[in-house]
Symmetry: C3
Subunit: 383 residues, 3 copies
C-alpha cells in the first residue's frame, strides 16, 4: 500500500556495566560488580506517509515508537509522532515532538542514532540530576537540594527535561534560506489547574536557529518551560530553561563537533536560582571505508546555587567506540563509556541507566560520587 | 505483502477549551480559564486483511488501535478488532466490537469519524453521567445518586457504556435484503464470579435493524446489559439498557439527521428505576465543492427516578463546524462546541473531556452546572 | 516496502469453561458454572525482515507481539523479538527469545500454534504451580509450600518459568549437520543487586540438542535458572531447572509425539529440593484431506520434596480436538479439554486460565482439587 511506510531500527547490544568507588563508603559497599544485560538502545518502529495535495502542499504524518525488545516494551507513539502539512511556507506539525534543543544535542552526539551508554544525554541539561525526564506533570522534579535524588531505574532512559520529547506540542519549521532555518515549538498547557486548585500550568516553548551548508553545521537553541507547580520546599512557580550553542564540521574522512549547554532553574524547590554549564567535544575518524572510530568527552561543571558554587556537583563522561558497516543498513558496533561523578553527584547514563538511585540503593550507604563504566557490543539494523 | 493492509487516520487539532459558570460557586471559583491543548481525536492505526476461501466464503480479520499521539498513547487492539468469516449467510466476527447501538450514534453524528469535542457521545446514553465508560467489571459505575460522580479525567474519552465497544463479543451481521439488514451481538460473561462470591456476571446483547437505500437511512437498536454486580447502596442485580431510533437523508448538497435515545437503569445503586431521554438533530451543507458546514444540537432531558423528575439533571450540546477538503484523504477542520449543563448535571465532552470530575476539583466547591466550551482547529488525514 | 514484512495470526474462539468438584467443599461451593468467553489464543502480529549482507551473511530482525483482541491488549514486542546475524556459522540473536526448552514443549503439542485451553503448558515444568510465569524478578515465586499459591488470573497466560520467553537473552543456533543442531541461550543478570543489598541475581542458560530428519524429530533440552533471590521461608539462593526429552514421527496421514519433563527447585522457599516428573503423549490423524483429529494426554506426577512424595499434588490433562482447513491460511477448530487436579493441586490451563487462584476465590473455601473443563470453537487465520 502506497499510503503508509513501515520503517524502523533494531539496535541490540550485549552490555557489561559496573559501578564502583561510591564516595565515602567502605570499599565495595554499594558497588555493582560486572553486570551483563541486553540493551535495545532506542530501537524503534514507525509508520509514516506523505500525500501530495497539489499547489506544492503535502500532508504528512508519522507514528513512531520505541521498542524495548529485550524486555517486551509496548509499542505506542512514544517517539516523534505527528500529523501536519508542508509547503513553500515550511512545515507545521502537531503531536509528540523533538524540539530544536533536544535535536541539537542529538545531532552533535557521535553515536549512531545518538543512543547507547556513551550518549551525551547523560550530562546535558540535567542540572545535577535535578531535572530528569518527562515534561508533563507526571514527571517528578525533586524538591530538595540538588543531587539528592534522581529517579532513574536501571536500564531506563534518564535524560533531562530538555532532552525529552514535548507532549501536546505544535511546531513550525521554516524553509531553508541560504542554509539558515528556524524552528519554533509551543507546548500547550493542557494540565492547567482549575481556579482555586494548586497552580499546575506546565507550558513552554523551544526555538532554534540553524545554519547547515555542505560540511558545516551550527545552531543555537533556547528552551523555556514554566512548570507552574509549587515544588516541595518552595512557594513560587518554577521556571526552567536551557540554552545551547554548537556546531560540527565534516572533513569527509573525519568529523569534529562541539557543544555548550547552559541549564537554569528558578524557584524549583529550593527557592533560588540554580545554573549549570556543560561542555562537550566529539569526533569521528574513518579508519577504513567501512570502519569508523568515534570519541567524545563531556564535562558537567559544578552547579551554581544563587551564584555560589555547589562543590563537587559535576561529572565527566568519556566515550570511545568503533562502528563497522556491513551494509548501508546494518553495522556492528563496540563502545566503551566511563562516567566519573564528582563526590556529591549522581549522574547516570542517559540511555540504559545503571540505576544510581537512592531509592534502590543499600540503606545507609551513599550513592553519590560513583564511577560508572560499561562496554556495549551490538548490531544496528535499519529497515 | 498482499495478506495485510496497514491503514489509519491521523487527526490532530489545536484546541482552546474553558469551563465557567459552575453552579453555586462565587464567580470564577472552580472555573477553568482558556486552556490550550493538542488533541488527537480518535486517531487510529489498523492492520486488516481478507482471504477468499472459495464457495463465496471470505476470512476476515482486523486489529485496530487508537493512537494518542499527542501524549504517547500505546498501540493495542483498542478499537474494532476481530477475526471472522463472511459469506452468503452474512458475517460472523469475534473480538472487541462496535455493536449496532454505538454504531447508530456515530452514524448520525455530523463530525468526520464521529470524533472531537462536538461529538454527540457527550450526551448519549450517559443517564446523567451515571453510566460512563467500559463495559466490563473494571468500569466504575458510581453507586450514589445520579450526577454525583463522573470518572472522566481531562482529555480522556468520556462516553456512555452504550457508546463503548463491547469486549469479548461475538456478532452476526445479516446480508441486506431490499436495504434491510440485522445485526446481533452477544457479550460473553467472562467475568462471572465463583459460586459463593459476589455476583459479578456482566453480560449483554445488542441488536439492530437498519434500512439503507440510496440517500435514506433509518435504524432502530436495543442494547441490554446485565451488570450483575451489587452496586453501592443497592442490594440487587443491576440491569441497564438503551434504545435508539434515528435516521438520515442525504440531499447531495446537504444532509439532515435525527436521533432519539432512551437509557434506563434498574437497581443500579440507588434501588429504583432511572430513565432518561436524549434528542438530537444535525445537518451538513456543502457551501463549496471542498467546503462543508456542519451543525448539531443534542438535548438530554432531566432524569426520571422511579417516575419522578430529577430536577435540573439534563444538558444541552451545540456544535457548529466547517470542513475544508484538501484531497479525498486530507481535510482541515474547525469546530466550536458548547455544552450547557443544568444546575445539577456534570456532563462533559465525550471525546477529549475537559475533566468535570469531583475528584480533581477544588475541595469544597461545586462541580455541577458548568458551561463547557471549546474550539478545535485541526487536520485529518487518512492513510 | 521490501525491508519489512507484516505478518501474524488471528485466532479467535468462543469458549465455554467450568470448574467443579473442588476438594473438601460442599457440593457447588467455589465452583464456576458454565461460563462463556471469547479467547484470542496466542494471536499475534509481527514485523520482520532480513537483509543479505554478502559473503553468505544475513542480518535479521523481528518484533513480534501478542494481540489480545478480545479485550484490547496492547501491542509490544511481547513474543519472540530480536535482532541478529546469520551465516555459515549459524545464527546469533539478541532480545526476547524462546529457548530450546520452551520450543520443545511447543513443538510436541498437538494444537496449531501450541495454543488454546488444551495446550500442554498447563502441566509442563510448573512444579505444582510453584514456578509460574515470568523469568525476571517481577515474577512472583511463592515462598510457601508447593501448591498453596498460583498467581494466574482468569483468562491469563499461566505457564511455567521454563515455558516463558527469556528476556535479555542472547542465543546461538548452529547449522544442521546431518540433521543435528544445537541451540544455546544465555540470559543476562541485568537485575543483579548492588553489593550489600538483597541478593537478586537472576541469570540462566538454556541448551538443546535436536535431531530432525524427514518425518522424525527428537530432542533433549536443559534449562537452568539461578533466581538469586531469597525466597520467603528460605535463606539460600534458589536454583531451578528443567530437563526435557521428547520426539515425534509424522506418518503423513497421522503423527505421534511423546515428551518427558523433569523440573527441579533447590532452596526455592521451603529449604529443600523439590522435583516433579511430567509425561505426555499426543497424536493427530487426518480423517479427510482438510480434516484432522488431534488428541493428547499429559500426566503430572506428585511432587517429591527432599525425596518424599507430596501426596495428591499432581494432575492430568486430556484434550481432543478437530481442525478443518478452509485454506492453507485459515482453519476452523473445535477442542475439548479436561484438567483433573489431585486433591491438593491447583493446576490451571496454561493459555486462557480459568482462575484457580486463592486470592480471588471465596474466602474460607478450598481451591485445590478442582476439575476444569472447557470447549473452544474457533477460527484461526494467518496473514
Amino acid at each position: 500500500q502506497a499510503n503508509v511506510t513501515v520503517y524502523g531500527v533494531a539496535d541490540g547490544s550485549f552490555d557489561v556495566v559496573r559501578v564502583s568507588n561510591t564516595a565515602g563508603n567502605a570499599a565495595g559497599d554499594n558497588d555493582l560488580g560486572n553486570t551483563t544485560r541486553v540493551s535495545t538502545n532506542s530501537s524503534l518502529i514507525g509508520f509514516k506517509g506523505a500525500e501530495a495535495l497539489g499547489n506544492g502542499l503535502t500532508a504528512v504524518f508519522q507514528y513512531e515508537s520505541s521498542v524495548g525488545f529485550d524486555n517486551t516494551g509496548g509499542i505506542g507513539a512514544t517517539r516523534d509522532s505527528f500529523v501536519g502539512v508542508a509547503g513553500g511556507f515550511g512545515t507545521v506539525v502537531l503531536g509528540n515532538l523533538t524540539g530544536p534543543t533536544r535535536a541539537l544535542g542529538a545531532a552533535l552526539d557521535v553515536n549512531a542514532g545518538a543512543t547507547g551508554i556513551g550518549a551525551n544525554s547523560a550530562l546535558l541539561g540535567k542540572l545535577g540530576g535535578y531535572l530528569v525526564n518527562t515534561t508533563d506533570l507526571a514527571g517528578s522534579y525533586p524538591g530538595a537540594a540538588p543531587n539528592t535524588t534522581t529517579n532513574c531505574a536501571r536500564s531506563s532512559t534518564c535524560t533531562s527535561i530538555f532532552d525529552t520529547r514535548w507532549k501536546n506540542a505544535i511546531a513550525y519549521v521554516s524553509p531553508s534560506f541560504a542554509g539558515l532555518s528556524v524552528t519554533a515549538a509551543y507546548v500547550a498547557n493542557e494540565n492547567k489547574a482549575f481556579q482555586g486548585a494548586s497552580a499546575a500550568n506546565t507550558t513552554g516553548y523551544d526555538v532554534g536557529l540553524k545554519y547547515a551548508n555542505g560540511p558545516a553545521m551550527a545552531a543555537v537553541t533556547y528552551n523555556a518551560v514554566s512548570l507552574g507547580q509549587t515544588f516541595a520546599g518552595g512557594s513560587k512557580q518554577a521556571d526552567v530553561s536551557d540554552f545551547r550553542v554548537g556546531g560540527s564540521y565534516d572533513f569527509g574522512i573525519a568529523s569534529v563537533r562541539a557543544l555548550f549547554d547552559h541549564a537554569r532553574a528558578d524557584h524549583a524547590g529550593i527557592g533560588g536560582k540554580i545554573t549549570q554549564n556543560v561542555f562537550g567535544l566529539g569526533g569521528t575518524f574513518n579508519v577504513t571505508p567501512a570502519g569508523k572510530l568515534l570519541a567524545q568527552v563531556y564535562l558537567a561543571r559544578d552547579l551554581k546555587v544563587d551564584g555560589s558554587d555547589a562543590k563537587d556537583s559535576g561529572a565527566k563522561l568519556f566515550e570511545v567506540g568503533y562502528e563497522h558497516s556491513l551494509s548501508k543498513r546494518t553495522m556492528l558496533k563496540a563502545v566503551y563509556a566511563h562516567l566519573n561523578n564528582d563526590n556529591n553527584a549522581r549522574y547516570d547514563f542517559g540511555i540504559n541507566a545503571v540505576g544510581i538511585n537512592p531509592s534502590t540503593a543499600v540503606a545507609g550507604l551513599n550513592t553519590a560520587g560513583a564511577t560508572i563504566q560499561g562496554i556495549q557490543l551490538g548490531l544496528r539494523h535499519s529497515f
